[in-house]
């Protein structure tokens, strides 16, 4: 069992979903959890297959010389697609998915309105993909702790002290995600 997973006395398997990750499950004993500042977590749920998944992302800030369109949308889309693919592998069906969005606070003034821009990206993704947005708790200036039971779709979200939130930094793509090109 990894450091990001723990088995509680209530037999619930708690799994952290960290920035840059996407996880899915149909196990009623699993609970995904995360703490959000400027980051956004997308919780998707297929109510028929009873499969849920969650990701956690922060888009990269564009260099000051470029406009907002220079945001690294490809990385955000990758984490959305990864989340959906993980769910489809378990048997979820895309057109049945419902989405809940959390986070996107403008908690770190050094990062400007990055929370708002992350929130806008997530809303636009659901709209563009035709995924119904069942609920959102986005923006503001407070940190949030999220617990998501993927097999039931139940989400609990509460405000927490800012000090609990990870010190979000604009995402630099991990080395494993550099868009490697291989010509045969």
């Amino acid at each position: 069992m990894s450091i990001a997973t723990s088995l509680g006395s209530d037999n619930i398997i708690r799994m952290s979903v960290l920035q840059g990750e996407a996880k899915a499950s149909s196990d009623p004993k699993v609970e995904f959890g995360t703490v959000l500042g400027s980051c956004v977590a997308t919780c998707l749920y297929d109510p028929v297959a009873r499969i849920g998944g969650m990701n956690h992302f922060l888009l990269a800030e564009p260099p000051e010389s470029l406009s907002r369109s220079a945001f690294d949308g490809s990385y955000g889309l990758f984490l959305m697609e990864k989340l959906i693919n993980e769910m489809l592998k378990l048997g979820a069906v895309k057109h049945r998915l419902k989405g809940r969005l959390y986070g996107g606070s403008n908690i770190n003034r050094d990062l400007g309105e990055i929370g708002t821009r992350n929130a806008a990206f997530a809303r636009e993704f659901l709209r563009g993909e035709g995924i119904e947005k069942a609920f959102e708790d986005l923006e503001g200036e407070h940190a949030r702790r999220i617990h998501f039971r993927p097999a039931s779709g139940l989400v609990k979200c509460r405000s927490v002290a800012d000090i609990s939130a990870p010190k979000d930094k604009p995402l630099v793509r991990p080395k494993s995600a550099l868009g490697t090109v291989e010509l045969f």
Binding site: L77, E81, G128
Partner: protein
């Protein structure tokens, strides 16, 4: 002078805009991102939502390079490549796979089906356009 720096910008644009690309992806967001990245770099972009729609479009249209996702409804990327390689019109058409899949097994399957290259999402726009220019005939 004949080095590339002496070519007026207009000529470079004209050269690039002659490359026609068909992108095949079931994600509307990914299609929008690809269209934006490629048109802003001078490519002419056509789009299909899955392998079946791509096949139907390619039956009566010409394109220089195809970029396809793997996981799609109706006809997936592997099926699309196999069908195109079996057709007289597209047997030699460059086909780049653009996917979140990272397994060597899937990459090998794409190679055996006749793919020209394998690009892992999230894509880097500069690397993608360099690959497109290299494989475009």
């Amino acid at each position: 002078m004949s080095d590339v720096n002496s070519i007026p910008p207009q000529s470079l644009e004209t050269t690039q805009s002659s490359v026609r690309v068909l992108t095949v992806d079931d994600s509307a967001s990914m299609r929008a991102l690809l269209r934006s990245a490629l048109t802003s770099r001078g490519f002419a972009v056509e789009q299909a939502e899955d392998g079946q729609e791509a096949l139907e479009w390619l039956a009566s249209n010409e394109v220089d390079v195809i970029i396809t996702d793997i996981n799609m409804p109706r006809l997936d990327g592997f099926g699309l490549i196999e069908k195109l390689r079996g057709s007289a019109l597209h047997a030699d058409r460059p086909i780049l796979v653009l996917t979140t899949e990272s397994s060597n097994e899937k990459k090998q399957r794409a190679r055996e089906a006749g793919a020209t290259g394998w690009i892992v999402k999230p894509f880097d726009a500069e690397k993608l356009t360099t690959a497109l220019r290299r494989v475009a005939h």
